[in-house]
Amino acid sequence: MRVLRVTTAVALFLGLVGLVAVADAQQCPKGKLRLYTSWPMQGAMLPEGTGMKNGVDLAVSEVNGVVAGFCLEIVSLDDASPQTGKWDGAVEAENANKAVGDPLAIVYIGTYNSGAAKVSIPITNRAHMAQVTPANTYPGLTKKRGAAPGEPEIYRPGGFVNYFRPIPADDIQGAVAAKWAKHLGVKKVFVLNDQELYGKGIADVFEATAKKIGLPVVANEGIDWKQPDQKPVLTKVRASGADLVYMGGVIETGAQVIIRQMKEVGLVAPRTRFMGPDGLLEEELLKGATCDAALGTEMRITFAGLPFEKMRGVGAKTYETYKTKYGKEPTSYALYAAEGGRVIVDAIRRAAPQIEKAKDVTEKREAVRKAIASTKNFEGINGKWSFDENGDVDYDTMSGFKIVKADGPVGCKFQFETILE
C-alpha cells in the first residue's frame, strides 16, 4: 500500500511538473510544429482510437511538448464516416489533404486500417511528409513480400519512402512460425492458405523459411474457403503423414472449418497439430463448437510483438507509465502509437538544425522524413531496432499463444506460451 501511495505521489508530482513545463513552453522559441493523427474515433473504434491518441500524447508529454525549441501540437482527426462508423477512403483523403495543406504540419500519424493507409500514403508522399502508423500490418504497404503486383511502389509517387511502421508487418509471422514449429519438434508440415493477400503471403513466407531451416513442407495448398467441406483436403493431409498443419488465413476464411474438421478426420495431437498467424487470435473463432477441436489440435498462434504485460525494459516502463497516466490498460495498439510518437520526437530533435534552416515547409518536412528514415538502434518497447530501407522495423520479436481450457461459456482461451525471437 505504501509503495502504491508513493508511486501515486510521484506520478502526481511529475504530472504537476509536466503542467508547469507545458505552461513554460508556451514561449516556443523556434515556433510550432503540428502532428496530425488520423484513425477512427467513433463507435466501436472509440476505445482503440482513444488509446492510440493517448499513446501519442504520452510520447509528446515525455518531452513536455517541446523538442529543441519547437513546440509540438497534436491535431487529432477521425477518418471514419459518420454513416458507417468505419474508416472511409474519402474521409481519410480529406484528412491527409488537410494535414498536407497546413503549413505547420510536419508529420502525419496514421492510420489504423491498412486500407485507409493506401489512400493517404500517396498524398503525404507527394508533400514529402513522413507518415508513421501505429497499427497497419499489411505487408504490401512497404514491401514486395506478401504484396499485390505493383505494391509498394504505387504508394510512393515521389519515388522515396515516407511511410514508416514501428510495428512488425504480417509476413514476419510466417518466418517466426516456421522456426517455432521446428523448435517444437515438428517433423513435416502441411501448409494451407486461403488464397487471399494476408493468408497466402504468410503461408508463402512460412514455406520458404521452413525449407531454409530444414523443416520439410509437404505442400502449400490454396483451399477454396467458401466450401464448408474441407475433409478431402484434410484427408490428403492425413495421408501425407504431416504432423503440423500451418494455415495462413483469418477467421472469416475457413480456419474455423479446418480446425473442426481436422478433429473429425482424426488429425489431433500428438499425431497432428495446428498453427496459424494472429488473424486467428480472436475469441470469435472459439465460440460454438470449436473448443474441443482447437484443444485437440493443440492450436498455437503467433502474435506480432509481445503482450504488454510481458514486455521488458522500455516496454515494461511504457506500459506502467501508460497505466498510471490514464488509469487503464492500454488498447492493442496504444503503446505502438507511443513508440511512433517517440520516434517522431527523436527525429525532430536530430533534424532541428535543418528545420530551422529550411526555406519552406516542404524542406522542413523532408528534413524530418530523412531523420525518421535514418532511425537506428532505437530503444523500443520490444527491444532495440532500426528502420530498414522499406520503412519497416528490423526486429522479429513475437509471442506464441496456445489454446488452453478455461472457465466460462466459451470453454477455452488463448494463453501466452513463449517469446519467439
Binding site: 488464397q195 490454396g222 495421408a239 472469416e252 473429425e264 478426420v265
Partner: protein, 312 residues
Amino acid sequence: MNAWEVLVQQTINGLTRGAVFALIALGYTMVYGIIELINFAHGDVFMLGLFISLSWFTLLGVTKTLTGWQLLTILPLVFILTMLTTAALNVAIDRVAYRPLRRSTRLAPLITAIGVSFMLENLALLWKGPAPIAYPDVFPSVDILREWFGVDSAIFVTTKDVLVVGATIPLMIALNYFVTRTRWGKAMRATAQDRETAQAMGINVERTILLTFFVGGALAGAAGLIQGIYYNIGMWWMGYQAGLRAFTAAVLGGIGNMPGAALGGLFIGFLSAWSDQYISARWTNAIVFSILILVLVFRPQGLLGARSADKV
C-alpha cells in the same frame, strides 16, 4: 494410410459432399422442368434453411448434442418444421416475384430471381450478422468402425456421414415416388411437358407450379439442415456458392431431369474430393467446370438428358 485407404476415404468424402449438392440440385431441376426458370434464389433458400433449422433447434431448447430418444423425436420434428418453413418461403417467393411474370419473356423472371437471391442474402446478413455462425453439434459424432465394430482402420466413417446419406436417399426415393406414382406428380409431369394442354385437360396449372415450389423449397430446407448438422457452421453468403455447384450438378445431369440432378450432384462430389486429393485443392473448381464444359460440348442434353419424355 495406404493408397487404397486414401481412395476409399476420399470416396466417402465425395459421397457426403455430393449428397448435399444433389438435394439442392433437385430443387433447381424441378423448377426448371416445370416453368423453365433457373431459380437463382434456390441456393439462398438452402442457406436460409440452415439458419431457420438453427432457430427451430433454439426454440425447442436444443443447444447440446441430442441423445437416445431425442434423436427419434426432436430431430425428425426439426426436419419437418424446417422443410415446412422453407417450403412456405419458396412458395411466397414464387407468388411475389415469379408468378406476376409468368406470361412475360423468359428473361424477366430470371432477372427477378437474381434480385430475390440478393434480397435473401441481405436478409440473412441483417438477421445473423457478417461473421460465420456456429451451429450446435446436435448430432452425436461416433467413429463407427472403431467404436462399434472395433476395427482399427485408417478409414473414418462417422455417424454424421451415415446421417447425410441416410437422410438424403429416403428423401430422393420419396420424391421419386411422389412424382412418378401420385396424381399430383402426374399433374406436375403433365404441366412440365405442355402447360396449355395440361390446362385443357383440367389440371390446375398454377396449383401444380405452387406445389413444385413447395417441394423444391422443402428439399432445400432439408439440405440446409443436413449441412448445418454435418459442418456445424453457416455463412450468409454460402447460398450463392452452393447454388452454383448444385446448378452445375443439375446441368451436368441434364437440367429438368431428376435422377440426372441426383447423379450430377454425386458426380461433382466425387470429382471434387478426388481432385482435392490427386491434383490440388486450388484447381478443383477449374476441374469441375472443365468437366462440365466437356460434357456439354459432347452431350449438350446432359448425362441423362435424353430421357426427356418423363422430364419434370
